[in-house]
């Protein structure tokens, strides 16, 4: 068998955590080989080892039939490997051509030959049908074009085997389809594509062979034709679909959060929210679906007072919360579980108690006349560790000693006990293991049963399907439409996530 890449027995540990455990992976030349697994299954670690960014603790790597030590990306590139990272590595102030030839500049008389680089970029871009303007600066280009540049970068290095790490995470469905077509044309030209994903639809759509990783181990390598979606899910999570819709009793609570015609800008000062309207009633969970980066984070930040709105209104129990500080909004009864928990949600170096104290450091019983009662703080934290089943030795443990799932539980514990009756929850289970995910979902349902109004932002549809009473879909800063959670129409949501109004589709067809 003609193998482009052959990994055997790859093991990689980070401290006590084993990210890759004796992984064997054989990729045939001329195929699209998908590596699928949940977040944290070890996909990215494996590819970083193959590409020389990490060194394995055990195992061998052969590329094109040669067993070798890949101790730097340079070695991998020499062997015809190219990697398109999940987070693009382009330099904003340089032009497209400069970025493509960075590290392999064309030089004349010791100086970089700009004209030649531009010309070669143009040739390359035409040859592979990836349209770019070589002389444009990268700053301000769309993610789709940035990805194109990344792929051209790899092609310019004569890569025959291309690794793509979660390439669709930031793309719209249309851009994803274009990407898949490009990949198919590469394979037709005799190249090999390794494609990392946790998205089973697209794996089923594009790949020839699928390798499933779970907890750092290979659980299966099969041709796609021998697999069904259902089987793939079972392989990924180790059992049949975990997220059934949670049973619930219908509630008709009072309006707790009301947002009308809300506009806001992102960090680059571009409009991120465009006339957002929504209401959340007590005792219901309103889900926000959408591809990451379509304004969900900005919405959460505006509502929690971390980002100014440029126009519109938002009312919490009838009180205007725009132009209020985060502290004032908290005191009005909003609790916020941030999407970026490592930066916003905790101080990794502080103790669990100190993390729990945030936002209530002046309130009884934790403080009296501005003096903190640490005994009370530790006592409360101890009770929360018990109640939320946080795996920690005690309240004085530093947050950094906990796993991602347990850190998230600390954040949830703090916010759910903050006394707020409106919960703004952004990505509750991102990067959290399955067991903890279920526990977190249980807790969110309990909060609903207690009559809290919950706005739940998630990029995972099955999570919303399990929890939400109503689902709003966001695209490009707008609410595209609303779907009932119980009778969820996945096709309609998919169209809206891509910016297409389903009503238009039916008219057109």
């Amino acid at each position: 068998m003609d193998l482009a890449v052959d990994l055997s027995g790859i093991t990689k540990r980070f401290g006590a955590f084993t990210a890759n455990d004796g992984i064997d992976l054989a990729v045939r030349r001329g195929e699209i080989h998908a590596i699928i697994g949940e977040n944290g299954a070890g996909k990215t670690t494996l590819m970083n080892i193959l590409f020389g960014l990490l060194q394995p603790d055990a195992g061998t790597i052969s590329i094109g039939g040669k067993t070798m030590l890949v101790d730097s990306p340079a070695v991998a590139i020499d062997e015809g490997l190219g990697m398109v990272h999940q987070h693009f590595k382009l330099v904003p102030s340089l032009t497209v051509a400069d970025n493509i030839f960075l590290g392999m500049e064309i030089r004349r008389n010791g100086l970089i030959d700009r004209a030649a680089q531009v010309e070669r970029t143009r040739v390359l871009s035409e040859k592979f049908g990836l349209r770019v303007d070589p002389q444009e600066r990268v700053a301000g280009l769309s993610v789709g074009i940035e990805q194109r540049i990344e792929i051209l970068k790899v092609l310019a290095r004569n890569a025959r085997t291309i690794i793509l790490d979660e390439p669709t995470a930031v793309l719209t469905p249309q851009e994803s389809r274009d990407l898949f077509q490009t990949l198919r044309s590469f394979v037709d030209d005799g190249m090999t594509v390794i494609f990392i994903s946790h998205h089973l639809e697209e794996v089923m759509a594009v790949s020839d062979t699928v390798t499933v990783l779970r907890d750092g181990r290979v659980v299966a390598t099969k041709p796609k034709s021998a697999l069904t979606k259902r089987e793939l899910v079972r392989l990924m999570v180790g059992r049949d679909v975990s997220f059934d819709r949670r049973p619930r009793t219908r509630t008709e609570g009072a309006v707790a959060l009301e947002v009308e015609d809300l506009w806001a800008r992102d960090d680059r000062r571009l409009t991120a929210l465009k006339s957002v309207d929504l209401t959340v009633r007590a005792g219901e969970i309103v889900g926000i679906a959408g591809v990451a980066g379509n304004g969900q984070t900005e919405l959460a930040e505006v509502l929690s007072g971390l980002r100014p709105a440029s126009h519109g209104s938002a009312q919490l129990h009838g009180h205007d919360i725009l132009d209020r500080t985060p502290a004032e909004i908290r005191n009005r009864g909003l609790a916020h579980v941030p999407g970026d928990r490592m930066v916003r949600g905790v101080d990794r170096n502080a103790s669990l108690s100190a993390n729990m104290l945030m936002g209530r450091q002046t309130k009884k019983p934790f403080a009296r006349l501005g003096v903190i009662d640490w005994t009370a703080v530790h006592g409360t934290m101890r009770a929360l560790i018990e109640r939320f089943d946080i795996r920690a030795r005690g309240p004085k443990d530093p947050a950094r000693s906990l796993s991602g799932g347990n850190i998230q539980k600390v954040v949830l514990a703090r916010e759910f006990t903050a006394g707020g009756d409106v919960l703004l929850i952004d990505q509750p289970t991102r990067g959290v293991d399955i067991g903890a995910q279920e526990a977190i979902h249980d807790e969110i349902m309990r909060q609903r049963a207690d009559g809290r109004a919950i706005l739940l932002i998630s990029t995972q549809l099955d999570e919303l399907k399990a929890l939400a009473d109503r689902i709003l879909v966001m695209f490009d800063g707008r609410i595209m439409g609303e779907v009932d959670g119980a009778a969820m129409d996945e096709d309609a949501i998919g169209l809206m996530m891509a910016g297409i109004d389903p009503a238009d589709m039916t008219e057109a067809s």
Binding site: S304, M342, V343, D347, R348, N349, A350, A354, A367, I372
Partner: protein, 356 residues
């Protein structure tokens, strides 16, 4: 590798590891210092003995050490306050000079009853220090202007400005470039008859304990610490990062001014050009060495005070210059820096605080 693991195992608790690491760094720095002393043709042992004798030789010498410790301690506390809030106040030197001048001016220009006179002079010193940092602090929190550079540049202006006041506006008749002496009603009470050591030391100690307690036990202290170690988390939790940052710098500057007031009213009893050179920087170094802990700063300030006091004898008994102790201090900081402070900041997330 095994050795390193063993080392980690033995000192797995943060404090133990910190102490062991710092002791090692100290040893390296002292060894380097010895090499430099050899380079200038002196015996390191002789220098060390002279330093020790100069610092702790008799009661008078010990009092001299404590006298030098006082301004370093107070300046160190000023630095600690800023460091806790994630700010570098490198302008303590300037605040010290302005505070010193302000206290002297109240001391010689007004006649007030004893206790009131001291209080008035100290108050103005504190206000002067706070005002001097107010503009850099405002631009730091409002526009993100790097406070390290702005406060350093302000130092030069403060030094020149106070010299101008002293020489052109308030020059004492008789030629010296110093202000008239302050009235005895503005003197800080001395502790012993044989030394100028005054209650400034007690003020410094009380301040250290007070600031430590503030950070450990109060809601406001908690907020400052969180802004320093995780600003985005603090902002999310409802702490006004800008207000805390501004307040922290202002208080830090005020304490810097207080140091100047103590030095003027307690030691020199007048303001003169270059009246307290380097105390601001020594204080900053002492605070860094103590990793921003006010209690730790008491000990590092004492160490630097002893070096300073000892260095006075060094110039008498050997050919070495007293600036050799500055060299030793800098070496200690360099040796310790590799393992210092950074642990507090989130360099794991790749976040760089110092960027343009």
């Amino acid at each position: 590798m095994t050795n390193r693991l063993l080392f980690r195992g033995l000192f797995s608790k943060g404090l133990g590891r910190t102490l062991a690491g710092q002791a090692l760094a100290f040893a390296i720095a002292l060894a380097l210092g010895a090499v430099i002393i050899l380079m200038i043709d002196e015996s390191p042992v002789a220098v060390l003995m002279t330093l020790m004798r100069g610092a702790f030789g008799d009661a008078e010498k010990i009092a001299g050490t404590l006298l030098q410790t006082t301004p370093i301690l107070i300046c160190g506390i000023a630095a600690c306050i800023a460091l806790r809030g994630g700010m570098f106040n490198v302008g303590i030197e300037g605040q010290l000079f302005l505070g010193g001048f302000a206290a002297a001016w109240v001391g010689f220009a007004f006649a007030l009853p004893p206790v009131l006179h001291v209080l008035a002079a100290m108050t103005l010193a504190v206000v002067a220090g706070a005002l001097w940092i107010a503009i850099p602090a405002f631009f730091r929190v409002r526009f993100g202007t790097n406070e390290v550079v702005s406060t350093i540049l302000a130092n030069y202006i403060a030094t020149l400005l106070t010299s101008y006041f002293t020489i052109f506006l308030f020059k004492r008749p008789g030629g010296w470039s110093e202000t008239p002496p302050i009235l005895t009603s503005a003197y800080l009470p001395e502790l012993f008859s044989f030394s100028r050591l005054n209650i400034g030391l007690l003020i410094g100690l009380a301040l250290a304990v007070g600031v430590a307690a503030f950070f450990r036990w109060t809601s406001a202290g908690y907020a400052v610490t969180m802004v320093g170690s995780a600003p985005k988390f603090a902002e999310y939790g409802g702490v006004s990062v800008r207000r805390v940052g501004f307040g922290v710098l202002l208080v830090s500057g005020a304490v810097g001014g207080l140091a100047g007031g103590v030095e003027t009213l307690g030691v020199h009893h007048r303001f003169m050009e270059g009246f307290a050179p380097g105390f601001g920087f020594d204080g900053l170094i002492a605070a860094l060495l103590a990793n921003g802990s006010p209690i730790g700063t008491i000990f590092t300030a004492l160490f630097f005070g002893a070096l300073r006091a000892g260095s006075l004898l060094l110039e008498v008994d050997t050919t070495a210059s007293r600036e050799i102790i500055t060299v030793i201090q800098a070496l200690i900081i360099l040796a310790v820096s590799a393992d210092l402070m950074m642990r507090r900041r989130g360099d794991r997330t790749g976040e760089r605080r110092w960027k343009f």
